[in-house]
Structure formats: C-alpha cells, structure tokens
Symmetry: C2
Amino acid sequence: MSVLIVGSTALDSIKTPSAANVRLLGGSASHAAVAASFFAPVKLIGVVGEDFPQEYLALYRRHKIDLSGLQIVPGKTFHWSGEYELNMNNRRTLRTELGVFETFTPTLPQMHQDTEFVLLANIAPALQHHVLDQMRKPRFVVADTMDLWLNIALPDLLRLLPRIDGFVLNDSEAAQLTQEDNQFRALKKIHALGPKYVIIKKGSHGSLLSGPKGIFLCPAYPLQTVEDPTGAGDSFVGGLMGWLAAAKGSIDANIRRAMVYGSVTASFCCEGFGLTRTTRVKRGDIEKRVKELEKLTKF
Amino acid sequence: MSVLIVGSTALDSIKTPSAANVRLLGGSASHAAVAASFFAPVKLIGVVGEDFPQEYLALYRRHKIDLSGLQIVPGKTFHWSGEYELNMNNRRTLRTELGVFETFTPTLPQMHQDTEFVLLANIAPALQHHVLDQMRKPRFVVADTMDLWLNIALPDLLRLLPRIDGFVLNDSEAAQLTQEDNQFRALKKIHALGPKYVIIKKGSHGSLLSGPKGIFLCPAYPLQTVEDPTGAGDSFVGGLMGWLAAAKGSIDANIRRAMVYGSVTASFCCEGFGLTRTTRVKRGDIEKRVKELEKLTKF
C-alpha cells in the first residue's frame, strides 16, 4: 500500500547554538515523506515556488516520492526560519513567509483519491479537511498538528478530529488542548473528541499511544548528539505511516511496531540539519536501531 | 540476603495544590526501607527524637524492619516541610529543622556490619562515608543523593563515588554534576567518577541505567493521579535494592528487573501522601503492575 501525505513543503533556515544553515529542504510533508519512503511508496501533495531548488526535487525523486501532486507555481516557496536554545528543547520562530502556500487549495489527481493510508501532516486544519474531502474511502487517516493551529484554528481542528482515525500531537499541545497536565488523563479527553488512536510525542522521552489495545509506552532511541531536531516529529509520524502501509495484518497488530520504526527514523533526523542525515540512511541502519531498542528496553 | 539502609528518618509536612498533611512519616530511609521490605529483610540505620510517634515505630515493625540500628534520643525528630506547584514537578522547601540529625554519627551494631547489600539513601555524603567505613565486605553498595549535597558537599560526594558500585541521581542533578544536558553523555561522565552502575531518575519519564551490559530504558508506571511524589525516588531505589538482595544470580542478570520493581513501588508512593499508600500495598499489587508494564512496553 502507498501513503498519501499532505503538509508543508518549505525552505528552512535554522540556527542552533553550534551552527546555522539556510534554505534547507524542510516542511512537515518533506520530512514525513522521506521518512515514509523507507517503507512504502509515497504520494506527496504540496506546493512550492519557482525558487525551489532543482536538487530538492531530485532528492524527492531519489526517495521514489510520487510528485504528481506537487504543484510548482509562480512565487516564492514557503520559508521558515528559527533558532534553538542551548538545550535544543526550546525553539523560537524568527520569521515565517508563507509565499505560495497562502493560496494553496490542492485538487488531488484522480489516481491519488483512492490511496488507503492518508497522513495529514502538520498544516492548517482547513487544508487537512480540504484534502480529506477528496479521498474516496481511506482505510487509515492520521493527522498531526502544532500549537499554532490550537491558537488560531481550533474550531477547524475540533471539526477534523471525529473524521480521522489517529491524532498525533506533542505533550505541550496535548496539555493545551485538554487543560490537563497528566498525559494519561489528557489521552482520555482527546479520545472523547473523536480519534480512536491518540499519540502524544514527548521528544527525547519517547511517545505514548492510546488505542483499542490500551496504552503503549514507545521509547526514543538514545542519542548522544542532537544536531537539529527540526522535523523529528514529522519524521516520526511519516515513518509510522510508511511502516503501517507496508505491513500485513490489522492496524492494531502493527501500530506499536510502526511507532518504534517512526521513533528510530526520527532519531536519524535529529542527527543532522534538516534532512541531511535522514537522506543518507539505509533501511539496514533503521533495522539495526530497532533491534537495539528491543535490547535497550528488555527486562 | 538483607539490605542495610541508612538515610534520613523524618517527619514531613507536605502541601500540594489539593491538600495538606502535617508530620507524616518521611525521610529517605523510611521510604526506601518500606519499599525494600516488600522483597527482602531490611536493617534501618537512623535517628529520631523523643517526639517520634509510636505509631510510626509500629509501622516500621509491621514491615519487619530491623530497628536495632535506629536510635531514639532526646530532642526533636528531623522535620521537613515543603510545597508542590500545580504540575507536581516543582517543589519548594518551606522549612528544614535538622533536630537530632545534627549530631548523628551512628555506630553500626556488630551484626549489621556484614550485610551484603548496602543502600546509602539520600543523606549528607559524610554520613554515607561514615556508614560505609563500618561495613566489612559489602557485595553491592548503592548511593542516592540530592542537589543540596552537590551544592554544599561536593568534595565529600566526589570522594564517595569511587567507593560505591551504583550511583542514583535525578536528571537535573546529573546535569548539574556533569554540566551536560544530554543524559547519555552525562552517564559516561559519571562513570568516569567511579561507579560501575549509574542510574538517572526522570520522574514520570522513567529512568536510565548505564552498566556493564549497556543502557536500559526503564519505564515509569502510567499514573492518572499523583497525590504526592515525596519519597518516590527513595521508594524506587529502596525497591530496587530489596529486589536485588532477594534475587538469585548476578547483579547484571537482575538489575533491570530490579529497576522495574523499584519503578512500580515508586508508582504506589505517588498515589498517596507520605507513606500512606505504600503501606497498604500487597506484594500481589506490585506483581500486577510489573506484568502491566511488560504489556505496556511490548512491541
């Protein structure tokens, strides 16, 4: 099975305490698509401007990402710039230039509308609705989000939650959405808003799944060096959806292992700026870290 | 095998956003001893004043804790009072009255000096040295600590580290001691200071072990309600040492499971003020949560 992924396709300029890089390939859909591509065929829905570097299109193609849903239009590509503090947990957005994203309302190619696995990566909930409206009979739909949408588009997001199977958000967003500090109580409150599967991402502390088979405590791969965590959450959910789409059997039988694969894919993302480390990963590298995680958690 | 535990034996007055309780049984040795008592015989080394309630002595005895090393002397019992903020992660000490602890330099009963498992629970490093000096040939010595000793008794603590087998501290203390935000790099730096086993406690995020068999990511039991986390870290290390002392085989073969038992024992501690919940726990309750943790982490 393949995965349809909609989200932002952007250029990122990122500063950390140790280095700075400008106009890297970024955006939630870019990270998620490359992560998913290790496991399953990916169809990307997005938009870029005429300034979008050819080498980034080549990069997508090297990962066998179907670009028939990627529009290239006059104007500037979405550009985000941000800066990390010393402990890499706090991020400050310096500038956001929406560019061609401002008027993006994609019409999905006919052949994309039957895709069974759909990832609504982090993007405005209205756009997530717009893409979901065009899907015929998806088997499994997961949406990611960010604090921005909780702040400026909450009604759209709340309307989306009953329409999706799985919802992914980070710990602080879960607390903001539910007004609940305790993550296990927050999970219950989010289920009540619609989704059957809820995943809370906790950065280096791993992630939590709540679903029909109960809670799963998913570990994060231990990293001694975090170069740039931008896109780690997108890589996590991309890897998760790619692995799920490729796996045989029920969602319940596969989702825990899918999260572990997502977690490992995200660990590589953190080890380099933008997608520079992820794109050098081989499937065997991923399998090796998954095996290590099995050993690291066994008791 | 039995466990010798030295640490503070105190009265705690604790305020949380939802309730307040005064003069509860507290102190690192009390929490650790009760936790260890679920698994192995415990010998307590401590001091209390003449104001120490008889019911607390009865509580120790119900847990079959050997009190021949507990001195009852003229004066007041060590009294700590503190207050938790809404998220239960930040604690503020309101008052510390050392009382009879000020002049405590215990002489160990002859029969205690041969104990194989020794837990130097959180207390001044000088006192940890003083007790360790009296042990004949301990098989496994673990020390806990707190930020206070890093601030006011660092040389004593650094002198202790090469003398012990295992060192337990929390995440912020590890960062303070090593000037290292990354916990996996911090573990390496702490090994270089002496101990073969290093454990970093991360509260609701679980704990990390680094030892001869590599890293172990130990989960925390998911709690929907945290009434009072005071003593959770002491319960963790107490449960760990009790389980280790009772287990057959090498330390390396047992320490991961010992951590899980410590983690579960600590989870009960958080569910009530002081020791009120822990003392109502049956061994079967612990086994049940350990089995649950196995299911919660399986992939």
